[in-house]
């Protein structure tokens, strides 16, 4: 009897040990793709209120705590009105996307665009909305129908429409054909617009360039050189500094660059690299203009996290610090940082 019991205990111990080895082997897996919902974790507390997105949901980030304020149903690319009382957010679906007005707590107030159509070809995209400085208009990227009738051309152009239901949209820019079009509009206080244009050189290389257009339909000025491959411009609240993402021909990493800017003349001052050797994306200034938030992986190949860096030209890349560690934020949605 004792012999049987001893064998049973030994077998049980062996099974337990084998199972333990199995679990330990599994625990040694990399954390590739492992990320949690923002609302189930915390980050470093930052001043003011921020909005970010993950997997089609909009999150408010305040005092180091995330709060999910919409469902997981395609919400992306939020932007806030100048007074902070409204958000304009993209609702993305298969084949089309629309712009909606949301309250700061995530309640839908109005649908601004209606891009869904019965035929696949009749659908349209609306992306990257930004309020005008007075809050009455919204600028965004829209895939207008090709004026020459090509059904294959789907280049985005910058359009402007009222920030309320009704009213028509007017086109601001004329994109280079078959480049994908114009993106990242940033309306200026004086009435002009910053945006990113794409071009293909005679060696078939794609470049991006930040441009300033003083008024609708004007040719505009190039603020950056094609070789810099800069895009995703963000302006400081006083419009004297510009933060942008530049890749200098690389398709593996980007730089976060800060420069002074004169939005009247379109002249950019000395460019300071605040972050390098990473996949930095989506810069946004804090309401006081002292800090820049951006998104980048903490580890090579990892999901995008929230970071901040002082908005000063002398800041070294080492001054950048991650605010989150294990969330996978949507790097196409620049953080919205408001008072």
């Amino acid at each position: 009897m004792i012999k049987v019991a001893t064998y049973a205990v030994l077998i049980a111990a062996m099974v337990a040990f084998g199972f333990g080895v199995y679990r330990v082997a599994g625990a040694m897996k990399s954390d590739a793709g492992h990320a949690v919902r923002p609302s189930s974790t915390t980050g470093v507390a930052l001043p003011y209120t921020m909005y970010v997105t993950q997997s089609g949901a909009l999150y408010q980030f305040k005092g180091g705590q995330f709060k999910q304020i919409t469902g997981d149903n395609g919400w992306t690319e939020p932007s806030a009105s100048p007074d902070g009382t409204k958000l304009v957010v993209v609702s993305k679906h298969l084949n089309y996307s629309d712009l909606y007005l949301l309250s700061p707590d995530g309640q839908v107030k109005a649908q601004l665009t209606h891009h869904e159509a019965a035929s696949i070809e009749g659908n349209h995209w609306g992306f990257l909305p930004r309020f005008s400085a007075d809050g009455t208009q919204v600028f965004y990227s829209y895939d207008n129908t090709d004026p020459y009738g090509s059904s294959y051309r789907a280049d985005l152009a910058i359009f402007e429409r009222p920030a309320s239901q009704g009213g028509g949209a007017v086109q601001w820019t004329d994109p280079n054909q078959y480049t994908g079009g114009d993106t990242y509009p940033v309306p200026l206080r004086e009435g002009g617009l910053l945006y990113t244009r794409y071009l293909i050189d005679d060696k078939s290389q794609v470049h991006s360039q930040i441009r300033l257009v003083p008024e609708r339909g004007a040719a505009g000025l190039a603020l950056t050189a094609p070789a810099g491959d800069c895009e995703q411009p963000a302006l400081s609240p006083d419009q004297t500094s510009i933060a942008m993402i530049c890749r200098h021909g690389s398709t593996q990493s980007t730089e976060l660059v800060l420069a002074s800017i004169d939005t009247g003349t379109g002249v950019i001052g000395h460019e300071s690299v605040l972050v390098t050797g990473q996949m930095a994306a989506a810069p946004a200034f804090s309401p006081d203009g002292k800090t820049i938030a951006f998104l980048a992986p903490v580890q090579q190949g990892g999901p995008f996290q929230l970071w901040t860096v002082p908005a000063v030209a002398s800041a070294s890349p080492a001054a950048a610090r991650p605010i989150t560690q294990n969330v996978a934020l949507d790097s196409g949605s620049a953080p919205v940082w408001i008072r």
């Binding site: 111990a13 990399s30 793709g33 294959y152 794409y198 890749r247 398709t251 980048a296």
Partner: protein
């Protein structure tokens, strides 16, 4: 000890099962075994649309990339071969688009066609279909890519899961650094309708994806191999043994981007034209062969 071994065996069972499934050429056996990860070797990467439009294993190879890895010098070269390149097809007795070689004569014909025309020696091959690529990337946890310009396609094939393999839907990927899952990474490397550079841009994006996968692979550990094997089982064909694959990942993990030389055969290496009523790409071998011989000695 025995219990521990049993636990490890259970964990790595998918890996052993994958090893037992065909990971060989249609002719059987390894093409040309290499002695280890210190000798340079060349791999032909083949990617096919393997949806229900095509008969089982009679696919065109929409993507053909020749990769030479030099472990000792930590150098690698990627050469994208245009799918419409007009060449003699090995063993089939006709001249046609190079992407038809696999369809007509299987992997042996695809390899021989590349070897004969480019005057290179191929040690191994990897073939992957649409779902295989999606599963592979998902099992790696996705990839990080810098999208250089908006990728807009109003006629992207809806053939991954749809009942109509000729259906389509609209794709829009905005520029900037992004984390892509398998489906969106496939969209990135497969889209071509809205880009002035057509298949050339697609080849460039395919090389970019390989670089991103290399970066992602460097984060993986041996404990991730069962998941990868489970994901690839039946979706990937290769002559590379899993041991060598692991060594390859290990080697690639030590490479940085600047050590990887990328070659695209756009103009002046090739020119677009018409042959047999088809839009094709004509090679200028006087330009191509010296460049290939330099990178694939």
């Amino acid at each position: 000890m025995l219990a521990g071994l049993l636990g490890l065996t259970a964990y790595f069972l998918p890996l052993f099962q994958s090893s037992a499934t065909p990971l060989q050429t249609s002719g059987g056996g390894l093409l040309n075994p290499i002695s280890g990860p210190t000798q340079p070797f060349t791999v032909l990467l083949l990617g096919s649309d393997d949806d229900t439009k095509f008969a089982q294993d009679q696919y065109n190879t929409q993507s053909m990339i020749l990769v030479r890895v030099d472990p000792a010098n930590k150098q690698a070269t990627m050469l994208s071969i245009p799918r419409d390149l007009w060449v003699p097809i090995a063993g089939q007795g006709y001249t046609g688009k190079i992407d038809t070689a696999y369809q007509k004569g299987g992997v042996d014909s695809a390899i021989a066609t590349v070897q004969n025309n480019f005057h290179v020696h191929i040690d191994d091959y990897v073939w992957i279909g649409l779902k295989g690529l999606v599963k592979l990337i998902d099992s790696m946890g996705g990839v990080n890519i810098v999208v250089t310009n908006p990728v807009m396609d109003g006629f992207y094939p809806n053939d991954l899961d749809g009942s109509n393999p000729y259906g389509y839907y609209r794709v829009a990927l905005l520029p900037g650094p992004v984390h892509l899952d398998g489906v969106h990474a496939l969209q990135y490397v497969r889209s071509r309708h809205g880009d002035l550079r057509g298949d050339f841009a697609r080849s460039e994006r395919q090389q970019q994806l390989l670089m991103a996968m290399k970066a992602q692979a460097s984060r993986l550990s041996i404990s991730d191999l069962p998941d990868l094997a489970r994901a690839m089982n039946g979706e990937v064909k290769t002559s590379i043994s899993l041991d060598r694959m692991r060594a390859l990942f290990s080697v690639l993990g030590q490479y940085n981007g600047s050590a990887i030389h990328r070659i695209l055969l756009g103009p002046p290496y090739t020119s677009e034209g018409w042959a047999d009523g088809q839009s094709v790409v004509f090679p200028d071998w006087d330009r191509i062969l010296p460049a290939v011989q330099q990178s694939f000695p």
